[in-house]
Structure formats: C-alpha cells, structure tokens
C-alpha cells in the first residue's frame, strides 16, 4: 500500500517534470483566470494554458466568425489581466472592430496589422510574440507548418505571451507544436418559446488536442459576460421543442 502511494507520488513528480520540459514552466506567478468554467478541468493543472500557442481551425467563413467570437472572449480576459495591448495580425481582415465590444473588449485596445503575404504575417507574429509587453497576439493565416510552429513556440517560451493562431485552411494542417488545437462551429440558437428573432450566440467548442490535458467537446452559449454550458440532451430537447412549436 505504502509502495503504491509512493508510486503515485513519483508519477506525479515525473508528470510535472515532463510538463516543465514541454514548455509549461512552473505555474506562472498569476494564473490566468478565465470564465470558461467547467471546461478548465480539461487543461493541464486545471488552468487555462497562457503563454503558449493555441491553434484554431476554421474550414469556412461561418465558423471563422464563431472562432473569432470565442477568441474574443478569451482575449477579453487576457487583456483585462495584462497591461499591454493586443496585436491582431492577418491578411484580408474581415473582423469588424466595433463588434468586439459585444464580447467584452474595448476595440481600441487592439492594434490591427494588415499584411499581404503569409511570410510577413509569420515574421510579424514571431516578433510580436517575443515582446512581453503585449497581452496577447492573434495571427490569422491560411496554414502553418511544423517548423514555423516550432519557431513560434520558442518565442513564447521566452516571453510568456499567449498566441492564438487562426488557420483558415485546416485540410493542410498536419502536425504542429501548438499546445492546444480548437475547432469552434456555430450551432442553432434557441429562444424562449414564442419569442421572435435570434438568440444568444451558441457554439460547439471542440478541443481536439491539448497537451497533457483531456480533449473534449462542449456546447456553450455566450451571454454578454459569461458562458452557459448546455448538456447535449438539453440541447437536442430544446431543438426538438423548437421544431414541435
């Protein structure tokens, strides 16, 4: 029995060692608190991994908008806790700054850098990630290769800046060093019975990959300042209710 306990302890220690070797330095001074709620249990140490690269995949324009919404929610937390501004780097930007206010961000806290070539975008993202005065960096790019992602990972390991890479061409994504890979797609909103119009934004949030965490899928709804989780049966029931009505 005693040996078994010992074993668990050793495994725990080894796990921590592995974590630190993989870029998860000792939990940072101020752990980043998010309003993600129960989803946080999927993350290593039950803390949203800040200071690493997150990858978001969007196959089409509709899910790209949903992804931007989810990223904006995360960014609002990061900006709120950091002092610096946030850089939003991409080409052919469609993001409409005033709408960020719906997700708790003052749009003037974000500096947009609109470039033409992927090469420039990657260079700029890397430079920005090296600058520890920023609270977060968002890069919009069609695809990212393994070696490019490794460069970005090395940059954030130094500066502890959180990077979001939004990839529009997920078919070409193979293997990257990013710590988390997300896919967010919109799902039909549900209104109270008899109400006209469109409800709160609802997303299916898939955490496809998370290093040292538990991948999973969540259904959630964004209410001006917090998330509401939806359990699958509830979701289906409400949809069927909608159809019945």
């Amino acid at each position: 029995m005693e040996r078994a306990e010992n074993k668990i302890e050793i495994i725990e220690r080894l796990k921590q060692q592995i974590l630190s070797m993989q870029g998860f330095k000792a939990p940072i001074a101020q752990p980043i608190s998010t309003n993600l709620g129960s989803m946080e249990s999927a993350f290593p140490n039950q803390i949203f991994p800040g200071g690493v690269i997150h990858e978001f995949l969007s196959p089409d324009a509709e899910s790209a908008a949903a992804t931007s919404g989810f990223m904006a929610v995360l960014l609002s937390q990061l900006i709120g806790q950091g002092t610096g501004p946030c850089l939003w780097i991409g080409s052919k930007r469609t993001l409409f700054p005033p709408a960020l206010a719906f997700f708790g961000i003052q749009p003037d806290r974000i500096i947009f850098i609109d470039l033409k070539m992927d090469k420039d975008i990657l260079w700029t993202v890397e430079e920005a990630l090296k600058c520890d005065a920023l609270s977060a960096v968002v890069g919009e790019i069609s695809e990212i290769s393994f070696s490019e992602s490794r460069r970005l990972q090395l940059a954030v390991e130094q500066s502890r800046v959180t990077g979001f890479m939004h990839c529009f061409n997920p078919d070409k994504i193979r293997n990257t060093t990013s710590v988390a890979r997300w896919k967010i797609s919109p799902i039909a909103s549900v209104l109270e019975e008899g109400m006209p119009g469109i409800g709160h934004p609802r997303w299916k949030v898939e955490l496809i990959k998370i290093r040292n965490g538990k991948p999973g899928t969540w259904y959630m709804e964004w209410h001006t300042d917090h998330f509401k989780y939806l359990t699958k049966p509830n979701l289906v029931a409400s949809i069927s209710l909608e159809k019945a009505g």
Partner: protein, 499 residues
Amino acid sequence: MEKRFISIWFSHLTTDWFLLLRPELQEASFVLAAPERGRMLIKASSTPAKALGISAGMVVADARAIFPALQVFEQEPESSTKLLFALAEYCIRYTPVVALDPPDGLILEVSGCTHLWAGERLYLEDITKRLKSSGYQVRAAIADTIGTAWAIARYGHAKAIIEPGTNADALSALPPEALRLDVGIVESMHKMGFYQIKSFMTMPRSVLRRRFGQLLPDRLAQAMGELHEPIQSIKPTEPYQERLPCLEPIRTATGIEIALKRLLEALCRRLLKEGKGLRKAVLKGYRMDGNLQKVEIGTNYPTRSVAHLLKLFGLKISSIRPGLGIELFLLEAPVVEVLSLEQETLWNLSQGSENTTVVMNLLDRIGVRTGISSIHRYLPAERHWPEHTIKLSGALKEKHILPWRTDLPRPLHLLTRPELIEVTAPIPDYPPMLFRYKGKVHKVSKAEGPERIEQEWWLQKGNHRDYYCIEDENGARYWLFRLGHYDKDPQWFIHGFFA
C-alpha cells in the same frame, strides 16, 4: 495655435543712426544722400530738415536751393539693410523668429513669447522702450497678421494691440496705403474716392482684382488672415543633418553600421540638447561612381535612442548596395517632434509606460519591415453607415471620446464589400426564406429585422439598406440586407457573419 505678429517701424531709421554717430547734429538740418543716375538723391532727411519741406526723393541741388545751409552727408549703399539686420539680431532676445521688412521695418513672430513678459502690453512696451532708449524713433503694433500689424504700426492712431479676430475693425478706418500697395494703385484708388479701407473691404474680391490687379485682393486677404504670408527669419532653423566623409570607401555592412552608429550618436546628442525626438530619418550613402543609396525609417513616436534607431536601420542595411564603395554618409531627420526630458524619463520609469515604449519599438520594427500603413487602430466615429462607424486613429495613445455602441446587433465579421446573393423572400418586408451564397443554398430558420439604415444623404446618394439578422438551418448566422424598397426590383447582399 493662433499666431501673433509684431511689426516695428523705424520712422527715421538712417537719420537716427547718424545722430548716434554725430550727436552734435541733433538740432541741425541735414540730409543723407546717395548718387543715383548721375545726381545726388536725398535718401533721408532729419526732422528739422523735414520741417523745411525737404523730404526723401528730392535732388540735393533742389534742396540746397530751398535751404542753402543744408548739410549733406553721403550714405553708403546697403547701409540701411545692414543697420536693420543689426537691429533684427538685437530683437532675437524677444523671439526666435525675426524677419527684415525693408526698407525700415522688422517683423517679429511672437506667438507664445509674450507671456514671458507677463502679457502683450508689457512685452510691446519693453520692446519700444528699449529701442527708444537707444535712440531710435519707433512705432510698433501687435496683431494676428503681418498685414494688420504693419498697417497699425504705420497708420494706426488709437491702440497698438489688436485683439485676436478683430482685424477688420482695426483696419476699416485706415487709408488704402496701409495695405502695402504700390504707389500707382493707391493713386488710382484715391481717384475713385476710396480713402478708407472699409469702403472697399466688403466688395467682391473679383471686382477689386479686375480693377486694380491681383495685388490688392492678396494684400487684403493677407491682412485679414485668409491668406498665409510666409516670413523668412534671419536665423533659419538648421536642418537636422549629420555628415560623415570616409577616408577609404566603405564596402562592408559592418563598415556601414559603424558609420551609422557615429552619425546617430551625433544626431541624437543634438536632439537631446534641443529637447527633440525624430519621427523619420533618412540615411544617404554617396557612392564613388556617383550613385546615391538611400534608406528611410519612420517611428511611431518621437525618439532619440541610438540603440532603437540602430535596430530599425539594421533591418534595412542589407538593402544598401555599396558597389565600389561609399565615400560619404549623410543622415537626415526630416521630421522631428518635441520630446522633453521629463517625458522621456517618465516613459522609462513607470511600469505601464515602459511597456508602452516596448510596444512602440515593436510597432516601429513592424512598420519598417512592412510599411507603416499596415498598422491600424480604430476609434468609434459618429456616423451610422456600417462601414463608416469606425475611423482610423493616427496616434496610439489617442483616447476615444464616444463610447463603443452595443445596442444594435453588428456582425463580428464584416465583408469589406457586400456580396450579391440570390434570395427568395416574401413581400413586402419579410426576411428571406432561403438564399444562395457562393453556390450553396441556405434555408433560413430564424430571422430578426429589418433594421433600416439610411444613406448619409449629405455625403452620398443611393438607396437605403434594410438589414436582417439571419440564422440558417445549420446554425450559422448572417447579416443580409436588401438595397432599396421591395417593389422596385431590389437587390440582396450578404454583408457579414455573426459569431
């Protein structure tokens, strides 16, 4: 900022000066004359001589006929300009911008200087008192424009200080010659019966131009402050420029770096001394074969940090082609801004501000590599047309005055240009039942709207837009609009995607 000018008129410039040299002539009638077209022409006459009717422009022989005891002294050519220049240099103590106004006046730009003498009245008094005590008869006036100050100094009777914005009142009672016009124009104006500026001030300028030429409306506009009038200071501001000639032509990147560092150090030393920071710098390399190599950098905030500028230039050094070698380096700072010492230390001391500097440095590097126009920051604008609700902010520290609106639904992704879609919609004002976008048919399950957004008719013409928020059967949310009314064969567009 409002500009203020002083015009100083030395009514007896050369004779006053001559009296300083020869005080014994105080009560004597004398004239200063210079040869012109083979005769001696009077250039200036003393006050007693003037009383006898001897004035500038007369021939000496004629004057002697009036008053045989007249003393005549020869005036050296250019002496009045030299004298004026010396007086202008003396006036530098009052303002850095002093210009000559030949033959007998000075123009001082005094914007932001008068408070050091506790107000314009004391400032003006100090100037006139000092000049008078050194022996010159002067009249001076302060006004918004050079033209008005000039007129009041020479023809004004009441007061010498014209309050900002009252140029027209001050000028109205003065004669037309107060507008610095040619003798010919003034004469013809008198013939017309224009004895005061107010009698023609309100006339259409085109009429005045037709009758009297371009000069009159120009001078009038200059006096009123409608037309800018440049002045040339006797001490031109030195351009921010450093030179480094090389003994041996430089051909390597390391060599260029060393040269650049030296130039930057010299330039930044000067900027520090003057409390300035540069926003733009150009490095020019003159090659042995006559070719000119040029690299340029820009910064987001005024800076004089050698290390930072070196880093910015470092990104560009590789684009210099030294060819056979560069023999002369020239570093120029065409755009400089005020950067006080306190500002700089403040930035470096406080925690948050240090971050700002770091971010600015990062943006500078990005700007140098990709062009400063790629960096955008937005503030809310007071307009309702969706594309125009934001405006670009030039400075990164600019705060927004208007709040960001969240009362109306706006999509998170907005297409730069709305795209045409095919729609099936019941009339009159119902949302569409289905629409085809990029070849894919979307069946609408929920809709909200319409929200009518009218054209900003004072800026552009066209149909209004009726916006609908649409959710299709897959749960994707769109922002569609119908251009114009339903019964006039409307077009439908997709404009954005909600999260």
